[in-house]
């Protein structure tokens, strides 16, 4: 089940494993891929580099048989390759590790893996194979555990092992490091290098330049659905790669010098049991944020980010501990009472949490603005005022939409995020918590949002940015802290903080070290 079978065969370096020729795929209103071509050799680690919306996902979905191209063709080992469905792709030796949506929480690790295989052996045989492969590649995993109980990094291991058991010729990895700590990233890279040495080609999708320069032999850069360049990433600087990817000179947020004054938000010994089966409980969380400060909270997804935001927004009330704003305890108050006290939040999930997908932008402005913007009169709605407020958000934050009457889900991710963050900033928060401020947002919009957060802090608000993007946090934060399994480390100044230290704050390599609690 490991890669033993390939050992006897000589590795032919010049042979092309997969070639993609002129793939085009259009969706209504957008050409996701336009005449995309590249090729990959056995054992090559090939990067697909591009911004959100550059067409990386559509491209790999075509290679994996989830989407059929409008035109163009592919060849695998010289023979035409037209996968009609993922099953056919897997049968041809193409395997994929997804970023989202491919595990079943209520099923065991072994069951999850069996679902990704064509002819799985009996469960006990499969469990033995899982143990064997997981040890060979340094990815410890218990086949009997429920996937819902695993950490994000462990869940990714399930997916990788699921692929490895199929002896893939090509392994597609979609943004694999977004759920890992720096230490876990190192372990993953070792696994990938080992696979590559055994002749498995790896198609590595990312927008993180340092990773690509560290890992990949070649890179195809996509912008707006087209190939901009195919290059050797070792020969380019990160800045060159970034500019090819974005197509413009990047604007780095600027910080005005400002000083931090008194404590605005104080959280002490906050504990909260998770309401759902596979959620995270918060444990003894304490921190404070000063006026003018940006506190960056890092951590791997699923370590309590949503729960922490909910505890501050007032959506849930804690089992123990206090939350005070300017010395006033608020932990027992609901969201609207906290809004009155100028505590505002922007949750991660844009559609369905921060905004109602099928409602208009006016209604979405009303959703959180009713209190502070005075959009009701004895409970009766002031639609005119709500419309004015929505238009103000759209104008001030450069939200691209034909009209405030458009539904939220009709907006692109970046535009909706600008709307959501703008909606809160315009309500003059004393405390603003934003979870994943730029997740899935294009680079230009991301820069705008970061700048807006810095400006808000400069005006004296306390800002908390929860993010998985460490580069982002280093760029905008004064202090850094990390969530790990529902616990928050003591905040430290970002000045002089090393990647290793950050990684340890995030929990190091989950489940891989003896000292791990």
């Amino acid at each position: 089940m490991t890669k033993d079978g390939t050992e006897g065969e000589p590795k032919v370096p010049d042979q092309t494993l997969l070639s993609v020729n002129g793939l085009t795929k259009a969706y209504p209103g957008v050409v996701a891929n336009n005449n995309v071509s590249f090729s990959i050799k056995p054992g090559e680690v090939h990067a697909l580099l591009g911004e959100n919306g550059a067409g990386k996902s559509t491209l790999v979905k075509m290679i994996y048989g989830l989407v059929r191209p409008d035109s163009g063709d592919m060849a695998l080992n010289g023979a035409p390759y037209t996968p009609s469905e993922p099953r056919a792709a897997r049968a041809s030796g193409v395997a994929m590790v997804f970023q989202h949506f491919s595990l079943f929480d209520a099923l065991s690790v072994a069951e999850n893996i069996a679902l990704g295989m064509e002819n799985p052996p009996k469960q006990n045989v499969l469990s033995a194979q899982i143990r064997e492969v997981s040890e060979t590649y340094g990815l410890p995993l218990d086949p009997e555990r429920l996937v819902g109980e695993l950490s994000a990094g462990e869940r990714q291991r399930v997916e990788i092992i699921r692929c490895l058991l199929q002896n893939p010729k090509i392994l597609i990895m979609d943004e694999p490091t977004s759920v890992l700590t720096p230490q876990e990233v190192e372990i993953l890279f070792e696994t990938l290098r080992k696979l590559s040495a055994e002749g498995t080609a790896i198609l590595y999708i990312s927008h993180k330049l340092d990773e690509i320069r560290a890992l990949c032999d070649s890179a195809t850069i996509l912008r707006l659905g087209e190939v901009v360049d195919i290059c050797n990433p070792h020969e380019k600087t990160a800045r060159e790669l970034a500019e090819m990817m974005v197509g413009q000179t990047l604007h780095t947020p600027s910080r005005k010098p400002h000083k931090q004054e008194g404590v605005v938000l104080q959280v002490s010994d906050l504990s909260m049991r998770s309401a759902t089966a596979f959620g995270t409980s918060l444990k003894d969380i304490s921190f404070s944020v000063h006026a003018g400060e940006v506190l960056g909270i890092g951590g791997v997804a699923g370590n309590g980010q949503d729960e922490l935001l909910a505890a501050i927004s007032g959506e849930t009330s804690p089992d123990a501990g206090t939350v005070t704003v300017h010395g006033t305890p608020v932990q027992h108050l609901g969201p609207n009472q906290r809004r009155k006290l100028a505590i505002l939040t922007a949750p991660e999930e844009r559609l369905g949490h921060a905004a109602a997908p099928d409602m208009s932008l006016i209604e979405n402005a009303l959703m959180t603005g009713a209190i502070r913007e005075n959009l009701t009169n004895r409970g009766f709605l002031k639609w005119g005022a709500a419309k004015t407020f929505a238009e103000k958000i759209i104008a001030n934050f450069d939200v691209r939409t034909p009209s405030p009457n458009n539904a939220a889900r009709a907006l692109s991710g970046g535009n909706l995020q600008k709307f959501v963050v703008g909606r809160e900033i315009l309500q003059r928060p004393d405390v603003l918590v934003v979870n994943q401020p730029t997740w899935g947002v294009d680079a230009a919009a991301a820069a705008d949002i970061r700048q807006a957060l810095l400006d808000l802090a400069a005006q004296g608000s306390a800002v908390i940015a929860i993010s998985q993007d460490l580069d982002e946090l280093m760029e905008i934060s004064d202090n850094f802290s990390a969530l790990n399994e529902g616990r928050l480390t003591a905040p430290r100044s970002v000045q002089g903080l090393t990647v290793d230290e950050i990684g340890l704050m995030m929990g190091g390599a989950h489940g891989m070290e003896a000292a791990h609690v």
């Binding site: 059929r68 409008d70 993922p86 927004s313 959506e315 969201p335 949490h353 997908p357 009766f380 709605l381």
Partner: protein, 361 residues
């Protein structure tokens, strides 16, 4: 290959068109059904939809019946629509209707034969409270224990109909009724009788209440923060919570309003057109109102129109039964079909139908 493509915004045009298209499709499918039953489909459709309103011999009787039947349907459906919008499924309106009728009637009968102005209003209040309390059972069990309100409210319909059977033979039985089941008839007790407000129109207090409910629901949903919260909860419960909605209070409110509305419909019916509590005074309005609510797109004005239409099918159905021997159940099938067609046509509101190259997988 036909495939669906989600519209960026639900189609306004189709929102209005689907109920009409569903009615037309039901007429066609219903016509085929009637033909199978050996009736002339065109004649049956005419008798159901035209004759009750315009036939020279029957319309004098049928026209007032339109309001009599539409009143409770609209009143119940308006109540249900609030919950349905928020994803709170009270499908036990039939039970709340029965309990409202029993409570209201019990108050009226307790005063018999006293004559005072306050008896009728007291009955109405008791009816509303009865329906409200009956709806509070599934509501409180849901907020307290997380039980499924669909199942509990439905189970309570059977409990209520057994209760009805019990009181009509026991507690509320007419002492002068020579042992027959059924209460005193309110038509013979003026202080408690829900008489026609304008003779010959079918307009009674219940119909008036139904119309007021339509207006109140319209204002609530479009102009008030509570209505906004109801819609928001239906769209996205998590966003609603974030915006400050308290889900449990909303469940209690929606269930309470729908229960009270059903209870009101019950007491207006039993103190008026039906006249007395007996085992079969409830004609299934609580279930038909579900069809009315959906056919009216959960919109107050839509429900008003849908209630009138469904009332017409009841009256027309009776007429067809009388004139052609069309089985009573055929109308029930007809109403069921209507809901099916409506739900099927809804696809046009939210999706575009594309004919062309299919997606893989």
């Amino acid at each position: 290959m036909i495939r669906l493509e989600k519209r960026p915004v639900p189609s306004k045009l189709w929102t209005y068109l689907t109920p009409i298209a569903a009615v037309v499709a039901t007429m066609v499918a219903g016509g085929i059904l009637f033909a199978f039953l050996g009736k002339d489909p065109v004649e049956v459709i005419r008798i159901i939809f035209w004759d009750p309103l315009f036939h020279p011999d029957f319309s004098a009787y049928s026209r007032p019946q339109l309001l009599v039947k539409a009143g409770p349907l609209i009143l119940i459906a308006i109540g249900l629509s609030l919950g349905f919008r928020a994803g709170i499924w009270n499908i036990g309106a039939e039970g709340q209707y029965i309990i409202g009728a029993i409570c209201g009637a019990a108050v009226g009968l307790a005063f018999y034969p006293m004559d005072a102005w306050f008896i009728f209003p007291l009955m109405i209040i008791a009816g509303a409270i009865g329906g409200l309390l009956w709806a509070m059972i599934p509501a409180l069990l849901k907020t307290r224990f997380g039980t499924n309100e669909i199942l509990v409210s439905l189970m309570l319909v059977y409990v209520a109909s057994n209760q009805l059977a019990s009181v009509s033979q026991g507690l509320l039985r007419n002492p002068d009724g020579m042992g027959f089941p059924g209460s005193r008839n309110f038509q013979q007790y003026p202080a408690a009788y829900n008489a026609e407000l304008i003779a010959g129109t079918g307009m009674h207090w219940g119909v008036l209440t139904a119309f007021l409910a339509v207006i109140a629901a319209y204002i609530l949903l479009n102009r008030h923060i509570l209505g906004f919260q109801i819609r928001l909860t239906g769209e996205s419960p998590r966003a609603a919570r974030f915006s400050g909605v308290r889900p449990k209070l909303l469940i209690l409110f929606c269930m309470g309003v729908s229960g009270a509305a059903a209870g009101l419909a019950g007491i207006f019916e039993v103190s008026g057109p039906s006249g007395q509590i007996n085992i079969s005074f409830n004609a299934g309005y609580g279930f038909t109102a579900i069809i009315v609510a959906f056919l009216g797109r959960l919109h107050p004005v839509g429900i008003l129109l849908a209630g009138l239409l469904l009332a017409l099918t009841y009256i027309g159905g009776e007429l067809a039964q009388l004139m052609l021997g069309l089985p009573a159940a055929a109308i029930q099938v007809f109403q069921g079909m209507l809901l099916f067609f409506l739900l099927a046509m809804d696809v046009f509101t939210n999706y575009r139908i594309r004919i062309g190259s299919p997606e893989a997988a």
